[in-house]
Amino acid sequence: MRLNTLGVVGLLLLLSLPAATQEGPLVVKLTVKHDGKEKPPPDQVTLSFDSHSAQLPVRDGKFKVPAEFAKAHEVTFAADLGGDHIQITNVSAKLFSNEDWTLVLADRRYGDEYRWVAPKGTHIRSSCILVFESKGKDPATAMLDPHCRSKRK
C-alpha cells in the first residue's frame, strides 16, 4: 500500500514537471544568416505587441521571452544588424515554443532553398525570412516578410 502511495506521488511529481518547465521563461536561440553565411546575432532584440514592448539582451545567441509576450497573439520582432533595422510583424507568439529561430537575409537573391518562395517582384534587399525549428517538428516552418528590412536610422 505504501509503495502504491509512493508510486502515485512519484507519478504526480512527474506529471507536474512539464507544467513547471513551461512556467519558466521560454528561451529562443537566434541564428543569423546573411547571403548564406552565418553572422553574429544582434546584441538585443525588441519584442512588442499592443502597448507592450521589451528590449531583450541576446546572450550566447539566445534571448529569454517574457511570459506576457509568450501569451500574446502576435508580436513584432525587431533587431538592429549592422546598418540594417529588421522589423518583422505578425509573428505568432506560439512560435516562441520553437526554440531555434534563424533569420535569413540576402542582398540580391536568396539561396535555392528560399528562392522558390519569394513572390515575383519581391525586393529581396527589403525582405527577410524567419525560420522556426524545434525538436520533433518536421518540416521546419518559415515566414517571409517582404518589407522587414530598412536602413538603420
Binding site: I88, E113, D145, P146
Partner: protein, 153 residues
C-alpha cells in the same frame, strides 16, 4: 539507387502536391509523403510507400509529420529482406497572409528532427517546392541534386 525507388519518390512528390482525402489536404501541397525501399529475399528492388502524413499548416508551431515505416501496404513491407533507404517529401504549400507575409515549409532536412533521427542506410528529403533532393545522415546534409537530375539519372 534502384529505379523502383526513384519512381516511388517521383510518385510521392506528385502525391504531396495533390489533394489527399486520407491526409486531409484539400488543395495539395500541405502534407508529407514518403516511404522506404530495399530488396526482397530474391534480391529484387522493392519500394514501399508509407501512409501519407496528416495535412499541416505552415503557420503552426507544431507540424504533422510522416512515419515512413508505416507502410500503406504492410504486406509489401513484409516482403523486404533488407532496407536500402528511406525518403519523405517536404510540402510545397505556402500561404500568403493578409499581412503580406508568406508562410511556408522549410524544404531541407530539419536540423532538430530529420538530421538527428537519420536512421536509414540512405536518407532522402525532397523539397517539393524547391524541387531539390537532399541526402543526409546524422552529420548533416551530405549532398543535394535538382529533382529533375535525380529522376533522370
Amino acid at each position: 539507387m534502384p529505379p523502383e525507388a526513384k519512381a516511388a519518390i517521383a510518385a510521392s512528390v506528385q502525391a504531396s502536391n495533390s489533394p489527399s482525402a486520407q491526409a486531409g489536404d484539400k488543395t495539395g501541397g500541405f502534407h508529407e509523403e514518403g516511404g522506404i525501399w530495399g530488396t526482397d529475399a530474391a534480391g529484387k528492388a522493392v519500394a514501399v510507400p508509407a501512409v501519407p502524413g496528416k495535412a499541416a499548416d505552415p503557420r503552426a508551431e507544431k507540424n504533422a509529420s510522416i512515419d515512413v515505416y508505416s507502410s500503406a501496404n504492410p504486406a509489401l513491407k513484409q516482403s523486404l529482406a533488407s532496407v536500402g533507404g528511406e525518403w519523405h517529401v517536404h510540402p510545397s504549400g505556402s500561404m500568403l497572409g493578409l499581412d503580406g507575409n508568406t508562410r511556408f515549409f522549410d524544404q531541407g532536412p530539419s536540423k532538430d528532427t530529420d538530421i538527428p533521427r537519420a536512421a536509414g542506410p540512405m536518407n532522402i528529403v525532397v523539397g517539393a517546392g524547391e524541387k531539390k533532393v537532399y541526402f543526409y545522415d546524422k552529420s548533416g546534409v551530405i549532398g543535394t541534386m535538382k529533382l529533375k537530375d535525380f529522376l533522370r539519372h
